[in-house]
């Protein structure tokens, strides 16, 4: 008799090893960052979150992976509900329900897989389990139709929590997909299309955002779309695509954490999240500017940054599906545009009400940023140094050109659209009330909508009324059930 939870763990190899290193590194850095912010009550859930993320990449059996999924979800739930406002509670519960729904799909898939093979070792699932697993992955990776949990939850937590949240949940989804999924019904790479579509769609939505972390959250969705596309392409088209997707995971995790840390610093100074009212940080915080530029360049795929290398690999791998490639190019254009906007508004825009004095920042708060930025740069310059990256010439003229073209397009678009993109948010009364994003946006938390008109009210009332059935009616019901049961059991 095999145990259900063998907790088989092993240090992974190849590109997964680099992912493991990144998970560990960012986990430690961001955890210390949280501790440094004197957010003591987050220490335990944050530690559990990090541990679960690392567990996910060490897991060698499906059950351990599922445990890691659920622990990630629950620890994130605690982290998100942290501020404890009504809106925070609602968002966190929604987050949890979505995540556990993903876990339930995983449960179905694991059940079917185990039922057919009798084994729980990590590997490609049986075909009947694949659709359920895809559903689970779509939820976990926040692929487009079900991305809302991420874009709602991540911007609404404490500043120091968002980078930590961005590291694991979606990435573990990608990781699971890379290990368990191999689906292309009738030769059609579902995941690749969904992923590429998400990459484009989320970028378009990101362009419309004015809040720093909301914008970055949409970019998480978009970038995870790249990875999902990579994993999806791996299913039957190109073995390298999975590696490319995983490599993108490694690079993206780093630069997204960096960007979120930068955003956190900025928001901390301003006390609000509205990008159009920030500006002017560039001259006062040169180090922050540098980090921000590195992150923005990396996510836009500027040559000699880490994002360039991983996106190059992805586009190489997607040659078999040209349309996917084009979608990814389109996403690159949007990403570039979006981050020109981001850096412009954050650093170079004219400070549009005068800001509080940011120059008193203590040096230690910059340590995590500098570390992550350094690693991002190193990966960009020496992509082969990352374990598991295939030997390939990254910096050929044609590849550089293919990376620069979308950037040129972004720059062009920026010229055209600058006014429209940097127009201040029209909504008045979003004035910041404190450092936490939740407070800044809490005014939107509606009181209970008119109760009588809430959907399902009539259903609820009906169910309650039914459950106050009088005693004699209950007795009658017993007899009716007896009659029905007897009728069903009457020999035929």
């Amino acid at each position: 008799m095999n145990t259900l939870f063998p907790f088989a763990l092993a240090i992974p190899e190849g590109i997964y090893f680099s992912a493991f290193l990144v998970f560990l590194f960012l986990g430690v850095i961001l955890f210390l960052n949280i501790l440094r912010q004197k957010e003591g009550r987050y220490a335990f859930p944050a530690a559990v979150h990090v541990a679960a993320g690392v567990l996910a990449i060490l897991a060698r059996d499906i059950m351990t992976l599922l445990v890691a999924w659920e622990v990630l979800a629950f620890s994130a739930f605690i982290l998100i509900r942290g501020t404890g406002t009504a809106r925070g509670r609602r968002i966190s519960l929604r987050y949890l329900v979505i995540q556990v729904t993903g876990g339930v799909f995983f449960f179905f898939a694991a059940l079917l897989h185990f039922g057919e093979t009798g084994s729980l070792v990590t590997g490609i699932l049986v075909p009947s389990a694949q659709p359920f697993m895809v559903a689970a992955i779509l939820i976990k990776t926040a692929t487009m139709p079900v991305h809302f949990w991420l874009t709602q939850a991540y911007p609404s937590v404490e500043l120091s929590i968002t980078p930590l949240l961005s590291v694991y949940t979606t990435k573990v989804g990608v990781l699971t997909a890379a290990q368990l999924i191999w689906i292309s019904p009738a030769g059609f790479p579902v995941l690749a299309w969904l992923g590429a579509g998400t990459a484009v769609g989320a970028v378009i939505l990101a362009l419309l955002q004015h809040e720093a972390r909301k914008l970055l959250s949409y970019h998480i969705v978009s970038q995870v779309g790249y990875m999902v596309a990579g994993i999806g392409l791996a299913a039957g088209f190109s073995a390298m695509a999975a590696t490319a997707g995983m490599f993108h995971l490694v690079t993206h995790t780093l630069y997204k954490a960096l960007l979120l840390l930068v955003a956190a610093q900025a928001v901390h100074h301003r006390g609000h999240e509205d990008l159009t009212r920030m500006g002017g940080l560039g001259s006062r915080r040169p180090l922050l500017l540098l980090c921000g530029i590195i992150g923005a360049a990396a996510i836009s795929g500027v040559p000699f940054t880490s994002g360039y290398a991983s996106k190059y690999l992805l586009k190489e791998a997607s040659q078999a599906q040209p349309l996917v490639t084009y979608l990814l190019y389109a996403a690159s254009v949007g990403t570039g545009l979006s981050f020109i906007k981001f850096t412009h508004l954050l650093f170079f825009n004219r400070a549009n009400p005068p800001s509080s004095d940011p120059s008193k920042t203590r040096a230690p708060s910059m340590v995590p940023l500098v570390l992550v930025a350094g690693i991002t740069v190193l990966i960009g310059l020496f992509p082969h140094a990352v374990p598991g990256v295939p030997r390939r010439a990254f910096f050929t003229p044609s590849s550089l050109l293919s990376a620069l073209l979308p950037l040129a397009a972004s720059a062009l678009l920026w010229m055209v659209l600058k006014k429209r993109l940097t127009r201040p948010a029209t909504t008045v009364g979003r004035a910041g009330t404190g450092a936490g994003g939740v407070h800044a946006t809490d005014t939107r938390a509606k009181p209970f909508p008119g109760k009588a008109h809430a959907p399902g009210t009539r259903l609820r009332r009906g169910a309650r009324t039914l459950h106050n059935l009088g005693p004699q009616a209950q007795v009658l019901l017993f007899l009716l059930v007896l009659a029905v049961t007897a009728g069903l059991l009457w020999p035929r």
Partner: protein, 251 residues
């Protein structure tokens, strides 16, 4: 459209129809079951008790033999049910307090005080002759309880409480119950099974005499005590008003 009277009438008609249908179904099933048994089981094997009960238990009343010996465990269970319902009644109603002093008329009381001692003969006879004739601990115990209730009704609850205090009722119930359980253990100590009678070394005696049937008369006595005390205290609880809890809300 339809008046409530008609609606109630129709509801009741439906309910009555359903009840009749259900009970007729029960009858059909029971008759079928009887027919099935008549077909499958030979008649001489039909009934295992009558032929052997005298030899095995010493009780000529087979029903008592079954109740107090063959299936004495059932009896223990039902004695426990009585015990439990007394406890439940007490738990629900609280301590009986402020007994009412309503009595019967003088004539009835006079007659009763003369007759009551005689009335006690019958239940005792029923209890002690349980293994010889129809009757036994339950029947006798219930008759005894009726007498206690009669005292309460005729002479007032206060007098009843004075003559037979509730505490005594409770104590005798607990005592009888513990005795009942304790006698069962004799079988275990004698190397036989729980609630064993003759197998545990109780003398079988001569069938048909008062001192026969091993432990059966003793069990009858204890069950009688227990049932009498239990039912009387249920009455006391039901009839007595609780002192501190007069009706607060009337709707």
């Amino acid at each position: 459209m339809e008046s409530p009277v008609i609606r109630v009438f129709l509801t009741r008609l439906t309910a009555g129809f359903l009840c009749l249908l259900l009970s007729l179904g029960f009858v059909v099933l029971l008759l079928d079951a009887g027919r099935h048994r008549a077909q499958t089981i030979p008649t001489q094997m039909e009934e295992p008790y009558t032929a052997r009960s005298v030899a095995e238990t010493g009780s000529i009343n087979v029903v008592t033999a079954i109740l107090m010996d063959y299936r004495a465990f059932d009896t223990l269970g039902e004695a426990t049910v009585i015990f439990a319902s007394v406890a439940v009644a007490a738990a629900i109603l609280g301590k009986p307090g402020s007994p009412s002093n309503r009595t019967m008329g003088l004539l009835s009381r006079r007659q009763l005080s003369a007759l009551l001692p005689l009335f006690f003969i019958f239940p005792l006879f029923v209890i002690f002759h349980g293994h010889l004739s129809p009757g036994g601990g339950f029947q006798g115990g219930v008759s005894l309880a009726v007498l206690v209730i009669l005292i309460h009704v005729a002479f007032g609850d206060r007098f009843g409480e004075e003559v037979i205090p509730h505490r005594i009722l409770a104590l005798s119930e607990y005592g009888a119950a513990i005795g009942l359980v304790g006698i069962g253990f004799v079988g275990i100590f004698q190397g036989s099974a729980y609630l064993a009678n003759v197998a545990a070394g109780f003398p079988r005696g001569t069938a048909g005499t008062l001192a026969s049937g091993g432990v059966i008369p003793l069990l009858n006595l204890l069950v009688g005590m227990k049932v009498a005390a239990g039912l009387s205290s249920i009455y006391v609880h039901l009839a007595g008003h609780e002192a501190e809890n007069v009706p607060e809300k009337r709707r």
